[in-house]
């Protein structure tokens, strides 16, 4: 059971980290209520309209296309690190992988997902 003591300590330290932080801040922070204090984002862009407003669905396709390259980079890094060990076989596999991803981008391009209409 002793190996779990570390885990328990870790959980307790994690909890303490949050609780102490919020607690101390609650005790010492200055209390002033004004208009800016009550805004949704105290030091951000001013809020416009209601949360139920409609926005363009095309943001979504851009996010998806972003994911293509995001995932690509995740796999490129470990491959680049062990490039020498993987050798030619690794290079070929990576080209197949990137080919499939590029196919996805090509498709998105052809379907007009990259144009803002």
């Amino acid at each position: 059971m002793s190996e779990w003591v570390g885990v328990a300590l870790f959980i307790m330290a994690g909890l303490a980290f949050g609780v102490v932080g919020i607690g101390v801040s609650f005790l010492v922070h200055p209390r002033s209520k004004n208009r800016y204090k009550l805004e949704t984002y105290e030091c951000g862009i001013p809020v416009e309209g209601s949360a139920w407003g409609r926005f363009k669905a095309q943001y979504f396709t851009f996010a998806l296309i972003f994911v293509i390259f995001d995932v690509e980079v995740i796999y490129l890094y470990p491959w680049a690190v062990s490039f020498v060990q993987l050798g030619l076989a690794g290079l070929v596999k990576m080209f197949i992988f990137i080919f499939i991803l590029v196919l996805g981008l090509w498709y998105a391009w052809k379907e007009g997902a990259l144009e803002w209409k």
Binding site: I100, L103, W106, Y107
Partner: protein, 476 residues
């Protein structure tokens, strides 16, 4: 870790086919994309040829993560045959109701790839990879008629419920891994023999049954199937009911009969209850249906119940029964759905009442629907009877109650199948003009008819093949 490429030629060929269809579709102009259907058909036939040719190849690769034996080869052939029939028999339907050939045909090929990867899985990761490739492809396919509210509803339902079932399955897999310390099926089996187990393993096992039960639409995890079957394009419904189901049964057998045999006493009764529930719910709720796709959906829940009987047996004869039944079920279901799609093309309706007088308007379609339904009901001299005979013979000692329930429920199913037949043959058509079927539909119908009748009269060779394949499964 070396890869033995000779064992995975089928998979590589299928992946190349899917990418080739996609690339070609991007290069050629939009108006020429219609021809992609022919390329998909030709390619799938070649891949089927490769799969049949590599039947003697057996072995494991990727350190046991990928198993190729007669059992997996058999189910791969079943899945590929289903894909070929879907691409061939529904060409007109796809052209008239679905469109988007590039996306449609490449997604069909990738769904098939997911199936055959899952069938050959030797560990939980490969299982999940194949399962998700198949499921995500099907989510796309189900929602393909994006202008049709019903299709979108079906897509959303399938997305949410498939996501949930995947979560349950993954949790179950993680618990089995936690209890046994390995993800390889072979090592899980060894670890159970060595005495690992306990409550954790059993909870994991129950979750596995729930997750895979969703895929084969066994009651009480069948709730999604009527809505999804009704809303999806008929071609996709047919593929979902045959390929997806057969592949999920293959992996169900691989996991339960193959690697969890050591704790058989914990799951056999559970599967038996699920089988009984599926037969009861599927057959009884099918009776009041007025939409033929919904009726076939409930009937497919009942069919899942019959097939699960073979898993209850957990023996060579049970596995053989499942294999035989899966094979004939593909043809019977494809025949029925091809008729539904072909009739929908002409009269734009899936209501059973609108099938009135179909025997006069399209005699071949009505005959094929009759034969396929009677086969599913298990009438002698048709393949379904032989299949049910093999399944129920496997459990006749020990589970007599399940056999009796199966027989009674088969009788019940005759009622609702014959109700459709009655409408088709007895009632006079509102509009007596003959419905002319396309050549591809006619050929598909003749194949379905021929196989169903032939295997009913002469089941010997297929039964022999299934038997040897099941044997290779039990003596590794």
């Amino acid at each position: 870790m070396n890869i033995d490429f000779s064992l995975i030629t089928t998979e590589i060929a299928l992946a190349i086919l899917g990418l080739a269809i996609f690339t070609l579709g991007l290069i050629i102009p939009r108006s020429a994309r219609k021809g992609l259907g022919n390329i998909a058909l030709l390619g799938l036939i070649i891949v089927l040829g490769i799969a049949v040719y590599s039947w003697p190849n057996q072995g494991e690769t990727l350190g046991g993560m990928y198993i190729v034996d007669h059992f997996s080869s058999f189910f791969k052939i079943v899945g590929l045959v289903a894909a070929i029939l879907v691409v061939f028999g529904f060409r007109r339907y796809v052209a008239a109701n679905v469109g988007n050939y590039l996306e449609y045909y490449s997604t069909i090929v990738f769904a098939t790839l997911g199936m055959i990867v899952m069938i050959s899985a030797g560990d939980f990761i490969t299982l999940y990879l194949g399962l998700e490739l198949m499921t995500i492809s099907f989510i796309v396919l189900v929602a393909f008629r994006s202008f049709d509210v019903k299709s979108l509803e079906a897509g959303i339902k399938y997305l949410l419920l498939a996501g949930m079932s995947s979560a349950v399955l993954l949790y179950g897999l993680s618990l089995v891994y936690g209890a046994t310390g390995t993800i390889l099926f072979a090592e899980v089996a060894q670890s159970i023999i060595d005495g690992s187990g306990g409550l954790l393993l059993i909870i994991g096992l129950v979750m596995l049954i729930a997750g895979l039960g969703f895929k084969v639409s066994a009651a009480p995890f069948h709730m999604w199937s009527p809505d999804v079957y009704e809303g999806a394009p008929t071609s996709v419904t047919a593929f979902l009911a045959t390929g997806s189901k057969a592949a999920s049964f293959a992996i169900l057998i691989r996991v339960f009969v193959g690697s969890l045999t050591g704790i058989q006493e914990h799951w056999v009764m559970l599967v038996a209850v699920l089988a009984a529930l599926s037969m009861l719910i599927g057959n009884l709720i099918a009776i009041p249906q007025t939409n033929i796709k919904r009726m076939l959906a409930y009937s497919s829940v009942a069919q899942a119940g019959y097939i699960m009987v073979g898993i209850v047996a957990a023996s060579q004869s049970g596995v053989k029964g499942v294999m035989f039944y899966s094979f004939i079920y593909v043809f019977a279901t494809m025949g029925a759905f091809t008729v539904v799609a072909a009739v929908y093309n002409k009269i734009k309706s899936d209501e059973i009442a609108d099938y009135a007088g179909l025997a006069q308007r399209a005699p071949l379609a009505a005959t094929v629907l009759l034969v396929c339904m009677l086969s599913m009901a298990g009438i002698p001299l048709l393949a379904g009877f032989v299949g049910k005979f093999y399944l129920f013979m496997a459990i006749v000692d020990g589970y007599m109650w399940l056999v009796l329930l199966g027989l009674i429920m088969s009788m019940v199913s005759v009622y609702y199948y014959l109700r459709v037949v009655l409408v088709m043959f007895r009632d006079d058509p509102v509009d007596p003009t003959p419905l002319k079927m396309e050549t591809s539909v006619t050929i598909t119908l003749l194949i379905a008819l021929g196989v169903t009748v032939f295997l009913g009269i002469y089941p010997g060779p297929l039964s022999e093949i299934a038997n040897t394949a099941a044997q290779s499964f039990f003596t590794p």
